[in-house]
Symmetry: C2
């Protein structure tokens, strides 16, 4: 049975790599252990996945692996599964539990209960149930009947997590739904999002009962927070804008010619059966969890340790429309649903170009039964333009290399919306984490002819509400070892002064180590950089500590009032950088339980509050960045990607440009367009200028427009 | 003779497009007119290039062109050449002049003199002369002799512009030089930059005489601004780090396999003989000037006007080492030298992949004689990953398109350093201006074992000084016409309040039109966007003015003391955005004459000071962004590219996502890596999953891990 990596045969539990995902067999073992232990209850499974070993244990194993001393006798961390589930009593009450199962013995070794106020992430069954319960609900039927809809419509229901309860409210587990009408059509992919209905049914999840129908405002600027004067014909002014090509009201472009990426000798990377990836001096493992999707582990470059673990940790999407109950529109897509479970099954030729390696994941249904979700992660190489170039103006010799990247990508769909996440490694020792926001913006009904301060009308009758996306990346560094120091570095002016800055051009770099766990704000106007340094190891050239660095992206943080529930349940979104002391299992910026939370518990703010020593210590850095998304008409019906990138780069880690040995091979498949510019002339394959030298680098053509200069022998200058 | 576009035959003056570059014939006419008019003097030519017609005239012509009413009788702006040159009197004194020559009559129609304090840009002859004058100079020879250099060295001289004179100094035209030793070697491309010598000779340019040798500090932190204790053996501790592949002390990587971009049907763009480019609904012309290199003119999308002109306007590179005379290390690479004249002659297969169209430029030597500089601009298509994607979770149908970009790129070399500039147009109506900094960082000698607050030791004995790169992009918009309004848009919190923001999640967008010419600071924490709107034209969907927008990049601006010459000569570098009223020929952020300036004259600050009405007017927007570059060891010997991007995007300009009609064709050349991960399995060409439907879009595979949901007929809900 396939593992994450699709290998046909899976080694026994005891010899699998500690960072490998559970096999289907291992999931079965874990499932059975829980069913055995909880046999007097009904069990609703949520997740079964591998326990990441405690760092202290795993590091010993990895050190042996890197030293080449691994043997059957090397102590291994215990191979364990994490099983998340509800026990259901006869009165239908649920208890939210987590068992740790030892996979060698097949026994439960630990049982954890979620705190009373906590709700675990939603699973598919709950979304399906939501629709079923809605359709049967008299409350819901009545609400729909009030709209007096034409028979040409169907009703489409998008289940959503229910946001944060109002202060002092103690709520049972709820699910809410956004409701749309959908034109009946033989094509099931007509776009229903252009027909929003102004109601939100709320379900008591465990009771399976719609407990209320929230009414939504449909007014405009002139109505303030009031409901609006809504038309009787609630959808009469709405219009469909389709996105599937066969339904478009305009023809597809016919003048876009194919652009293929071919790799005739195959990829430059290798992926082993236990998800070890080697590429261009990089060596790392790709892990997978239902919550985070792809995670990078044990990242080395040229035999030197860079990161212990790199992950997308959390994101929150609060909506800025103050009219109740829109304050309950706030998703935590990782904590409320799970990026791994929402990951697209990627398609060859669609989501990447070139030679692609796909990774699968083992997920479970609510009975705990495993199945393989295919192609949830893709790995491929990409050209990112010129990597470095220099032309010697004396000889006109140009040396130019391209920048090749290795991309580890996954894409998640959350009802209307899509995110594309990618880890990109480059040949110069850099790592980029990229987010692309796309999909359909969330819309609500607005009265005919009105506009609103709370969003933009992107389709007749459809107001796309202003909102934010705030992401958290978790960087667990291991810069030449696990004892690292965070150093802030700012470039500051020095007043003009005869003694220290006589002509006023000088500026200074102010460096400060972070000694205690803390939060840091981005500061672009002082050029704030955050260095992750190993102060125990000095770069022999610069005599400064070896380090990686990043520039915190100066983006807007949480706009909601700090006293609001919206803000309190996402305390991580108050600062751009958090520096915490490493603690096993502390992976989630907003804490483990985000669904329906009123407060961030066990997130980065709590971790910082421990006020621990982080200097020359096992430190974790969290980067938060956001996108305030006030929609444009151009975002409808599916928005063009909006891209953000987080860059981690070596800073005195190496003793020179680590990409210096990248060959500047001439790409002989490139073609020059004929000078009359017609396409017909472009297809011959032949280089028409430049010569290729034996070592693969390129000699430039002489040109008459260089700045001339010569080198002069010293003796010529000494002789007179 | 070739025009910019390399056409074999060039139309006569009168019928050439007003935005076309001068042909070789036209340059000859202009040259002769000046020689005729100035015949009692020696003439040193600097530039001969086309005069861009006054906007009032050109717009009439372009309107006729777009209306399809162009005829031989359409009034044309006069075809003119701009000739920049010095007249040289018998006493060797120079006068810096500019003539406007009418190309139809062959007569000078206007003569302009540069202001007394102004110095024009440096030309190749002056760089060549600098080296020749140095080598003959007794002062220079003596200085070199003091170093007592071994015969194994040669001397390499990098001429530089001379920066800004100290206050109250009135200087003649100067050129300075950075001096390096170079190991004698049969390979002329050994890297001399690792052997900096601590002197800067300064030449009186017109007298052709080294007037002084500035001594450079070589001390470290402990020496403050003092000269340092420098070793007798000034280069003994320096070491070469080579970058040309045949000289590397490590082998080149052998595990990077080819990645080819093939376009079997040719490019999707066309380039006409008069530089009109059409691609994916975009239509624009590429112009060329010796100062700016490639310029985009008359940019339309789908028949609608977006921009009148888009250019890289200026950049300044001040060095932050306060020890004199390093305050004179401040280049304006566009104004002091000229990006067009410093442009690389690009090589097929090196600087871009795929199918490339190259454009040439006609440049002149100091005798005014034209020659064609080949391949100074390249145009090609590029894949930029996913353009938009949505998966219908009900049907699992994914629609995904890729984002194709058209790239207009040029690369400039300025002695040690390189910049790669690109205009990128995308299918969603967006335009990106990208800068990549690469090449060799500028180093000075530092005593053995020392470190410095003013830079980083990147190679033994070589201190790479801290510096900034501050760029200015000039955007001359024409959003559905020439009367545009700049609107700032900020997203601001609203305090929690029962009446206006009961749950605290609401935030407001505050929009303000710019009424008078002004400067604006980037403000990322209020999500400041700058909209370029046409308030006379309302988007029918959103009911807001049609617009394009950009987010000013929040980067550090000029660090030098505002009272310093370094800062005063680059007033543009004090703000991120400048909004000015259009004025013919006002193209340069730091003014026309930057070389050896003490003050920015005629730059954006002066334009703003005119305090003109800019609302609903012919407005120009300038975007300034910077890169504070405190070098890393990894930047040596050639730095990996550091990338910055400026994004201009439609905001309610269109009535939907303009890329909605981009076909989601499956790329059938993509290949999946075999499940055992070996390269040998990767080379078969065949899609192994997914099916291609007739219309070119892709149906996803069903998967068991979707959130299930169904659409419900309204009658079912109405019936109970």
């Amino acid at each position: 049975m396939p593992s994450l990596n699709g290998a046909a045969t899976v080694p026994k539990v005891a010899t699998r790599h500690p960072l490998e995902q559970l096999s289907v067999d291992e999931v079965e073992i874990a499932r059975q252990a829980v069913l055995d232990a909880r046999k007097t209850f009904g069990v609703l499974f949520r997740n079964i996945y591998a326990v990441e070993p405690a760092k202290a244990q795993l590091v010993k194993f990895l050190n042996a692996e890197h030293a080449g001393t691994l043997s059957p006798d090397t102590p291994r961390p215990p191979r364990q599964a994490r099983v998340q589930y509800d026990t259901i009593s006869e009165d239908r009450s649920h208890e939210l539990l987590e068992s740790i199962v030892d996979l060698t013995s097949g026994k439960e070794v630990e049982l954890r209960k979620a705190p009373t106020v906590a709700q675990t992430a939603l699973i598919k069954d709950e979304f399906v149930e939501f629709t079923e319960v809605c359709v049967k609900s008299e409350k819901f039927k009545q609400a729909i009947q009030e709209f007096n809809l034409d028979d040409k419509y169907e009703i489409a229901i998008d289940p959503w997590p229910c946001g944060g309860p109002n202060p002092d409210d103690v709520e049972p587990r709820y699910t809410q739904g956004l409701i749309y009408a959908k034109l009946k059509h033989e094509n099931p992919d007509t776009n229903h999002y252009g027909f929003p209905l102004p109601i939100i049914p709320v379900m008591d999840t465990f009771k399976k009962e719609i407990i209320r129908i929230d009414r939504l405002a449909t007014g405009g600027t002139e109505d303030g927070l009031a409901y609006g004067t809504g038309p009787k014909d609630i959808l009469g002014h709405c219009k469909p804008v389709e996105y599937v090509p066969e339904l478009l009201d305009t023809p597809l472009r016919t003048d876009l010619k194919p652009l293929n990426v071919s790799q005739p000798d195959g990829p430059s990377f290798t992926v082993s059966d236990d998800s070890l990836i080697e590429w261009q001096k990089w060596r790392f493992r790709v892990g997978f969890t239902p919550r985070e999707c792809a995670v990078l582990h044990d990242v080395h470059y040229d035999g030197r340790s860079v990161l212990y673990r790199l992950s997308l940790s959390e994101m929150t999407v609060p909506y800025g429309d103050p009219r109740p109950p829109f304050h309950r529109k706030q998703a935590f897509d990782f904590g409320d649903v799970g990026a791994g479970r929402a990951a697209n099954n990627l398609e060859l030729g669609c989501d990447c170009l070139g030679v692609i390696k796909y990774l699968d994941a083992v997920l479970v249904d609510s009975e705990g039964k495993p199945s393989v979700s295919k192609n949830v992660v893709c790995i491929h190489e990409q050209d990112n333009g010129i990597g470095w170039k220099h032309t010697n103006f004396r000889t006109n010799r140009a040396v130019v290399t391209r920048s090749r990247e290795l991309v580890v990508q996954f894409i998640i769909t959350l009802a209307n919306y899509e995110y594309i996440f990618a880890y990109k490694l480059d040949q110069a020792g850099g790592i980029t984490v990229e987010t692309r926001a796309t999909g359909m913006v969330s819309v609500v009904n607005i009265d005919p002819g009105k506009t609103s301060p709370w969003g933009n009308v992107v389709s007749p009758g459809a107001l796309a509400q202003n909102h934010q996306h705030i992401f958290a990346i978790r960087v667990d560094p291991a810069i030449d070892g696990h004892e690292n120091t965070i150093i802030t570095e700012e470039s500051l002016p020095i007043p003009m002064n005869p003694k220290t800055n006589p002509w006023g051009n000088g500026y200074e770099i102010v460096r400060k180590p972070v000694t205690k766990s803390t939060a840091i704000h981005a500061s672009p106007f002082t050029n704030l950089n955050v260095k992750i340094a190993n102060t125990n190891k000095i770069n022999p050239i610069s005599q400064r500590p070896v380090a990686y660095k990043f520039t915190p992206m100066p983006t807007q943080l949480m706009l909601a009032d700090p006293q609001s529930i919206v803000a309190k349940r996402a305390a991580f979104a108050q600062h751009h950088v958090w520096v915490t002391k490493y603690k096993d299992e502390e992976l989630f910026a907003a804490g483990e339980f985000t669904n329906q939370s009123q407060l961030e518990i066990g997130g980065v703010a709590d971790a910082v509050a421990r006020n621990e020593d982080v200097e020359n210590n096992d430190v974790v850095v969290w980067n938060v960045f956001g996108l305030t998304h006030n929609p444009r008409v151009e975002d409808w019906p599916v928005m063009p990607v909006e891209i953000h990138q987080f860059h981690l780069r070596p800073a005195d880690f190496f003793d020179r440009n680590p990409a210096l040995d990248v060959p500047g091979q001439k790409n002989i498949s490139s073609v020059e367009v004929g000078r009359n510019g017609s396409a017909a002339d472009c297809c011959h394959n032949g280089a028409t200028n430049g010569t290729e030298s034996a070592n693969g680098t390129v000699q430039g053509e002489p040109t008459s427009h260089r700045q001339g200069s010569v080198a002069v022998p010293v003796e010529q200058l000494n002789g007179h």
